[in-house]
Amino acid sequence: MSEELVRLKIDDIDIRVPKGTKVVDAAKRAGIDIPVFCHHPKIEAVGMCRMCLVEIGTPKRDRSTGEKVLDEGGQPQIEFWPKLETSCTTPVSEGMVVKVSSDKAKEGRKQILEFLLTSHPLDCPICDKGGECSLQDLTMGHGSGESHFLLDDKKHQDKHVQLGDLIVLDRERCVQCARCIRFQKEVAGDPVLAFAERGRDIEIVTFSDPGFDSYFSGNTTDICPVGALTTVDFRFGARSWEMGAIASICTHCPVGCNLMLNTRREASANGRHVIKRVMPRQNERVNEIWICDKGRFAHHFATSDERLTKPLVRIDGKLVKTSWKKALEHAAEGLKAAGEGVVGLASGRVSNEDLFSFHTLLKSLGGRAILSDPQAGGELVQQVGVGQGTDLGALGAGDAILVIASDLHEEAPIWWQRVIGAAKRGATLVVANARKTRLDEYAGHIVRYRYQEAARTGLGLLQAITGAKDLLKFAGDEPLKSAAKALTEAENLVIFCGVEGLTYAESKSLSEACAAILVETKNVGRAQNGLIAVWPKGNTQGAWDMGLRPAEGGLENALAEAKAVYIMAVDPVGDDPDLAESFSGDRFLVVQDLFMTPTAEFADVVFPAESFVEREGTFTSGERRVQRFYPAVKALGEAKADWRIITSLAAGLDIELEDSSAAAVFLRIAEETEAYAEKSYQSLAEFVEQWPPVGEEDLYFGGTTFKNRQGLGVQLAPTAEKDRSIKIQWSAPPEFKGKKGYLLVPVVELYNRGATVMPSEILYSRLASPVLRMSLKDAKSIGIIQGVQVELLIDGRSEELQAIAEEGIPEGVVLLGRGLGVPIAEPQYVEVRLKA
């Protein structure tokens, strides 16, 4: 939108708004509510509900001279347009006069409401939207209070239409505003909804198989102005006014979407508070007003009955329930005996406070704290991560985005949505991957490499950009060169660096190449520029910031040296059954987790940890925004926050750790971690007013997404903001010797079968299947017919799987989703053969 301002008058208020603003939005900025159903500030206007009718006048002009005609007082004479106009489709113009509150305008809107209500069932007492319904609110505010319609003439329609497995449509309640259709098309990039039929028979339908096939479907229930779209998770679950609202942060991926947890005390839960639904909370820099369906629906793990509720110790070879005191004593004894031979292993699923305490404890013991997420580059993000004030929602023409070795749609859906938004606004999108992903259709440049050549491709781009001679052996072909040119020419450049198909060593080399590209093109140290690592866990960057590092020589080697192992929020045995041997000896093992994992089965002591909904803390997103989450429900059983378990354990080891509160732990983080200096729970809780306004009295405007009053978090400054002379040293990727068989590459599926997904039964029908995907040519040569069972020989193990052929998969490669029951740590060569 141009910066040029236009002056106009709405009712009695004079305002100036940017040229191109629609009258309805200008009025909103002036504090005047014009009711709408179809208009939404994040979607293109269509003007179909006709609710926003106003009187509009413009300065009268002399037909011959084009000059404004003045009245007796020397003021421009205003000529009102003959009909009421839709304020959502009319752009402002200089000198315009808008009458929102005139009798004519009010009468027009009253009439529209009466029309809309003639086919609405008025079943508010049993409607989930009751209490937060735009139609209810606007009828109270603008309706006539009576209908002239004979109610038995009302058209009755289906009230329970399963649009997909997650969303239910009540056709009677629908006011045909098309917000859902347009959201899916314009914002989500999944145009799977449409109108069918016409006139009063018009109805919303889905034409995808499975129905409403989109990772963003839940958002349509937030912007639906009536109770037509409801989620299976919340339908008939509670009334909106019965629930408390507690701010939180999604833990499923590194985007860090802001959430609001709606809770209610329930008799069926013995009077405990339970989470009734997960809602988006506005943060325009992070998730805007959206969340993905995983964030919305895969929350049941946090309150699952399968959770650990009591500490366990191993007595006579069996894990038995015990008291915290005994469990802590036993754990302390075991760790003490190990001396400096303690190895800690934790994932980025837990908070900064947990990871900081964990790291401090391990350091005090003389041991080492290992990050289990096998991806490199955390320290590079600290140096050249995106600058403070970065807003992916503002990237557009003249900017570029490189996404390499990542399937953003599966790994970080909201980033995917924001990246395609940037591409639609004109940003040049470069997608580099070994296979076709959904992002390709938005790409200006597609760089296709072979698996095991991702890092070489990164260095090839660097070579094309710098022309450096020592990089010549990585020089690439023409598509790569033209992609590199696009990156060089961009005003702003953001790089998303993933780990698909990469070993740790490759990941290190690739992230260095990406960082070096940013430095060489001078796209570091300022907003809208920098490196984003597509981490496997929500707080992996936080773990790096707290000092944890992956085991460069591999987990197995690191564990081999350990006398005792302390594990937090990670299940190495579940991820890689080969590691079972590392724990099966008499090595002392302490595990703290939500669930009884395969690793915990080997433990000497098991501590029950609180889930993120039961405690407070902070997470650091992939864009390095530190954000707070708050306790929403009471701890399950005797579970405790991870950092509390650690500090209690430390006390038994005569190590003093900050244990008064999570806030106090964070202050220690701020003291000891430069990037976090001067940050506090207070500063993270600061917020400013955001556009569009949501979640207040005017739900009709932006929907039921919650307004953010709990804090927008703080984006940390990368080192490059202070030190412009930063240099990045690249390293050559490992050479891969030709091996036999197919290269099995683990890929990320959003709905995997991991411990944080499985407890959400509503997602069962949408879970990814453990299916081996391969190229058409390979399938043919093996003799595979679509969907046939095959045998996969992997490290001497044999797995029986279904195999399918798919376009866009390179030859010699088979893909298998992570977390689907067949553990694969990193790419490896396997045999695939038809089941005998």
Binding site: V46, L53, Q111, L116, F195, R198, R200
Partner: protein, 418 residues
């Protein structure tokens, strides 16, 4: 009776054969413009002739063409053959009887618009006709009158026939374009107008079949000749589709400005069975009903005169109602039509036509109460001026004008004496 300009098959029965059409100066105009005239000159000629759109709005075709965004290509021409207005059947007769003159018109328009692709959007019910048109287009290709490098110039043109699915709203040009793009047939916001962003978001001309059929004679005989026909502001010949209670219903090609009386009583042979005339629907279902007063009967049928007596000429589908017609019934029938054809996009049309239909249905079945007449009028006025497109605005005209001029017909069905 002078020779027909548009319905030439009435004078030359075999003109639907390409050889016959060519013998009668067929495609002379197209060859002339492609080989001798700049596109701008063609547009200028059409502007001078003041050829006005025959689809109903009467907008000058040449002016419409000159709105095409300069420098943006490809451009498209779409012939609107979604002839759906109740009582309108002129385009069909043109395409069946004199198809090559229409196709030549499409070709001339395409050249003027610098489009290399034109589409004919036929209503779904024109299935047979659409296939015949495809055969005619094929014949033109064989004769080198369509295709690449026409008349040894660089100009090329292809014409395709597209069948709609039978929706009245697709006669509205933006709904027509949505339908062609594979979307639901619903009108879209203007601006942008089709001349700026039309089919596939490219500059597009959409013109009615009859409008385009006027082009070959305008090119051949000149703008001045054309202006000598009709009235000063409504120039040229017009096909009036006459139907209802007349002795000789049918299409009549007459100059603009012919009076209702002349059409109905001279050409149409008067009212059937010697009955008295009660009212006239001058534009099918889409304009207010006129009571058949002497003032109305003596009104010239052109774009300027009909509004003066309270209605519109529209596409000139003249439906004559005799004294036996119950206007409440007529309102019921037309409202049924609009309720059925409302696309459902905007609330007042979608809900309002449904509501009006239910009230009229009740009245028609003898279940109406006296207050239903005012309620009906209130609902109609509630729709007025609030709709997304003209369909909703049209939908109220039979009701509002019916109650205004013939309230007693409604009262007879709802009063105590029913």
């Amino acid at each position: 009776m002078p020779e027909h300009i548009l319905l030439r098959h009435r004078d030359i029965p075999e003109i639907a054969d390409l050889d016959v059409y060519l013998k009668h100066d067929g495609f002379k105009a197209f060859e002339d413009v492609v080989t001798n005239q700049a596109p701008e000159r063609v547009i200028e000629t059409v502007k001078t002739a003041n050829l006005r759109g025959r689809g109903g709005a009467g907008f000058p075709a040449g002016v419409k063409w000159s709105f095409l965004t300069p420098g943006v290509f490809p451009r498209y021409v779409v012939a609107n053959a979604d002839e759906s207005e109740p009582g309108t059947f002129k385009d069909r007769e043109i395409m069946e009887g004199n198809p090559y003159q229409f196709l030549e018109g499409v070709a001339i328009c395409s050249y003027a618009a610098q489009a290399n692709t034109a589409y004919i959007y036929c209503r779904g019910e024109f299935w047979d006709l659409a296939h015949e048109l495809e055969d005619k287009i094929e014949a033109l290709h064989k004769h080198g009158l369509l295709g690449e490098g026409l008349f040894d110039t660089e100009y090329s043109l292809r014409i395709y026939v597209h069948l709609g699915a039978g929706a009245y709203i697709c006669g509205e040009e933006t709904a027509l374009l949505s339908s062609m793009e594979g979307e639901l047939g619903q009108p879209r916001l203007r601006p942008p107008f089709p001349a700026a962003e039309g089919l596939f978001a490219k500059p597009t001309v959409v013109n009615n079949v009859e409008t385009l059929t006027n082009l070959p004679p305008i090119i051949n005989q000149g703008a001045d000749w054309y202006r000598s026909i009709g009235t000063e502001k409504s120039t040229g010949p017009k096909i009036f589709s006459l139907s209802g209670h007349v002795e000789r219903p049918g299409n009549y090609e007459l100059p603009f400005g012919t009076t209702f009386r002349e059409l109905i009583f001279e050409h149409g042979g008067g009212i059937r069975d010697g009955k008295a005339i009660k009212g006239i629907l001058p534009a099918g279902a889409s304009a207010p009903l006129l009571p058949a007063t002497d003032e109305v009967l003596d009104t010239p049928m052109d774009y300027e005169s009909v509004p003066k007596v309270g209605s519109q000429l529209g596409s000139a589908s003249i439906i004559v109602l005799d004294e036996t017609v119950d206007i409440a019934w007529m309102s019921y029938k037309t409202t049924s039509f609009f309720k059925h054809e409302s696309c459902g996009k905007c609330a007042p049309c979608r809900e309002g036509t449904y509501w009006m239909y239910h009230i009229l249905n009740r009245i028609q079945n003898g279940n109406g109460a006296p207050e239903d007449i005012d309620l009906l009028n209130r609902v109609a006025l509630g729709i007025q001026g609030k709709c997304f497109c003209a369909l909703g605005e049209f939908s109220i005209t039979p009701v509002v004008a019916g109650i205004e001029h013939f309230r007693s017909d409604f009262e007879a069905l709802t009063g105590d004496g029913k």
